[in-house]
Amino acid sequence: MKQFGDIARHNPAGAFAMRLVISDGPLGVSWQHASETCEFLGDAFALHHAKSGADYNEARHAIVYLVNELLENAIKFRVPGAIRVDCSLASGNFELTVSNDTAEDVALRFQSLIEEITSRDPGELLIERIEANAADETSSASGLGLLTLMNDYGARLGWDFRTSTSGAAVTLSTHAALTLN
């Protein structure tokens, strides 16, 4: 088991919450499901948040962007299997956990990336990685989504790696929290 960043969950048991499971499928189908999932969750949670007079549009967009980025990563880097999505909202604190199984070598590479992108100011790192990526045609721009979440959205991120129940892979849970205005 290995953990990075902020994995603490603060929303109470009675918070407005949803759990969704995206079944395994071809990339195109999964991509479409991710898109529909983030739009649905953005709508549902922003509507709930706006009951207190908050800005629906801002909240919806931030949730859609966050859920979409984490789901895109889960779809790209998972081994065959479902993706579980848990979200909750209490007092303007939106919490999201996306869990999926991934291959051990992918998990190790991702751990190095996490160590790098959490080591310094995300704004500086974002610009540095964009520059490096533009200079290298073969670069996949990995980490930019997470850095935009941290820098542009103020998202607090954490990662939890454990051996999967089958023992054949690594279960990665990515935790994120956003303060909605």
């Binding site: 895109e72 533009a134 996949s140």
Partner: protein, 112 residues
């Protein structure tokens, strides 16, 4: 030039490139046709360049990276005035577009 799908349109009118809809493509390769359209407009050696994003409701991080890469290409043409148009109605633009100015000081960012 125009790239049109059910989810997004990208087209140019002279040296103004318009983006409309939701861009959520899966990575650098998937964005390549759009980058090529942008590069083709630049290759015409325009007097100025405008990226009009005021109708682009959503852009994922791969798409933001596309804009960033193109901004770095524009930096190689310091004499070329570049304007990026955004909308306050679309929250990602106020959050992420200022990064383009960090990459290229010559970018004029207008978010209204």
């Amino acid at each position: 030039m125009e790239i049109k799908t059910g989810e997004y349109n990208v087209w140019n009118e002279g040296s103004t490139i318009h983006y409309e809809g939701t861009l959520r493509l899966s990575g650098t390769d998937a964005y390549q046709p759009i980058l090529e359209l942008m590069q083709a407009v630049l290759a015409e050696k325009p007097q100025n360049m405008v990226l009009d994003l005021t109708q682009l409701e959503f852009l994922n991080s791969s798409g933001i990276n596309l804009l960033a890469k193109f901004t770095i290409e524009l930096r190689k043409h310091p004499e070329l005035p570049v304007k990026v148009l955004g909308s306050t109605r679309i929250p990602w633009q106020s959050k992420s577009l200022p990064n383009l100015q960090k990459l290229h000081k010559g970018v004029e960012l207008v978010i209204t």
